[in-house]
Amino acid sequence: MEILKEIAAHVENGRNNEVRVLVGKCMEEGIGVSDILNLGLVAGMNSIGIRFRNNEVFVPEVLMAARAMKSGLEMIKPILLKEKVPSKGTIIIGTVLGDLHDIGKNIVCYMLQGAGFDVIDIGIDVPKEKFIEAARNHGAQIIALSSLLSTTMSYMKEVMEAVRASEIAGTVKVIVGGAPVTQAFADEIGAHGYASDASGAAEIVKGLIG
């Protein structure tokens, strides 16, 4: 449908107002919210994610796209809830204890939201108990851990051990990422997934939940 392609293009180009106008038009015309979400908003974020991964666009462009995506999502959210459109999955995300950096984690949030997941951002400097509590309370399938510093990266291992020892072990998978984190480190601590960049995180989650 042409209007959904237009929404996707406007999301990709970070055109907030145009997205709102077109989403409103779709709703008036009775186009299904699942289509608006998946063929419009998610498609636009998917495109920007690919371009971000290829270094064709940078963080500001992702932020603009995410803002456009979220403005459209806010409009259709009440109907998504009312129609009980099933979520693709719920992800708890946070920067681990001792680490106060948030931009990398925020970009991953936007990419995951843009891929159609429900994302619960529990912030920075997050202790292991809070990750587990949030996953339990929200019935999450994924816990995503972020760290910018090699000194705080080691705390990811503590979170992994706490998850394994908790009642959510077996139902929740843990993914890790951030500047100092590597696949080798993820393997060493037994994480279920590692992504080297934000759009990679969305792909990993699709693989783990899908």
Binding site: G14, N55, V57, F58, V59, P60, E61, L63, M64, R67, L97, G98, D99, L100, H101, I103, G104, N106, D125, L149, S150, T151, T152, A179, P180, S196, D197
Partner: protein, 361 residues
């Protein structure tokens, strides 16, 4: 040659008598760890702010001793006294930026006083304070021209995002570019005024610390970099040159997409050249070694933290082989000597630089 001559020669892309060595940044723990190999009476590792006056004096003297004993050619200084403690977890600088300390003591800017265009109309920026240059004065008086004096000055991007918040700055680049330029103008005027004081105090090398990349790519596009960052940092570099100083750019991460622009800015050197971010010495030397002095690249994430002194020795040998031919290389770690590095590996780095660096430039 003394250290100062060595550094200035390398930054001029000429051949010093040996490859110069520089410590860009060093935390309390490695000062104490390395220092214990050469002096007694050091406290157990803890943050500077938790030390008493005797311990602070000993730590500073040990930092000087490390530079003297291991033949470090440049001494880094930076602003001190510009922050005030707000409470146990927060400090604020003289711009009103609030920093939250993590449990590891590392402060991260979390409170930003200039978030909207209206804020800047009522915002009064601080004036540079001569008293904040104390560390530079102490280094100058200690080394008496034997070592090059470096100053770490925050660049336009870092100063701007700390005032505005990083995501907000990036959004405003699209929503209100004039606002971004006004903030950049304001912070640059401060830096230019401070540069007068620094030159009077005997500075040799201005380091424009402007972290703008992660290991994959720059955070902002080359187009935005040219529009919002380059003109202002160019003013700093050009003024430094007019005053007879050298200028080095510092940014972590993969800078390849910005490299030509940074060369156009007029920097003499580039630091820290993270190997994990694709900043390979050999490739850099081939691409711009005749225009830019390469400063760094000895891996402080894995090698200096988890490697052996023998592995460090080999990495230094390789770095010198890759980058020092014809001059234009200053040996330095790939970011800083942080609390995770092993003191004996740092010493191995200093000693290998002298072993392989003599007559190899």
């Amino acid at each position: 040659m003394n250290g100062r001559e060595r550094i200035r020669t390398a930054l001029s892309i000429q051949e010093p008598d040996r490859v110069p060595v520089y410590i860009h940044g060093i935390n309390e723990a490695p000062i104490i760890g390395i220092g214990r190999q050469i002096t007694d009476g050091l406290p157990d590792p803890k943050e500077f702010r938790e030390m008493n006056d005797r311990e602070k004096g000993k730590l500073l003297d040990t930092l000087f001793l490390i530079h003297e004993n291991f033949g470090i050619d440049g001494f880094t200084s930076f602003e001190i006294g510009h922050e005030k403690i707000v409470d146990a977890a927060h400090v604020a600088d003289d711009w009103g930026v609030l920093y939250t300390r993590s449990i590891h003591g590392l402060p991260v800017a979390t409170g930003h006083p200039v978030q909207n265009p209206g804020d800047i109309d009522t915002f009064t920026p601080p004036r540079p304070d001569r008293n904040h240059l104390l560390l530079l004065d102490l280094g100058r008086d200690r080394f008496k021209g034997e070592k090059a004096l470096f100053w770490l000055m925050r660049g336009t991007f870092v100063r701007s995002w700390r005032l505005m918040g990083m995501e907000n700055l990036m959004i405003q680049m699209y929503d209100n570019p004039e606002f971004v330029h006004r903030v950049a103008r304001m912070v640059t005027d401060y830096s230019l005024e401070q540069l007068d004081m620094l030159a009077d105090a005997g500075l040799d090398v201005l380091v424009v610390e402007d972290d703008i990349a992660d290991k994959h790519s720059p955070l902002i596009s080359p187009r935005h970099f040219v529009e919002f960052i380059k003109p202002y940092n160019t003013e700093l570099v050009e003024k430094a040159h007019r005053m007879g100083l050298k200028a080095v750019a510092h940014s972590d991460g993969n800078l390849w997409p910005l490299l030509d622009i940074m060369i156009e800015t007029g920097y003499n050197g580039l630091n820290p050249l993270e190997p994990q971010a694709g900043m390979e010495l050999k490739k850099l030397k081939a691409y711009c070694g005749d225009r830019l002095c390469l400063v760094g690249n000895i891996d402080c994430i894995d090698l200096l933290s988890n490697g052996t002194p023998e592995e460090v020795d080999e990495a230094v040998r390789q770095a010198i082989a890759d980058a020092a031919t014809g001059g234009g290389y200053i040996l330095c770690d790939s970011n800083s000597l942080h609390p995770g590095v092993h003191p004996l590996n740092c010493i191995a780095m200093f000693e290998a630089a002298k072993k392989y660096g003599a007559g190899k430039s």
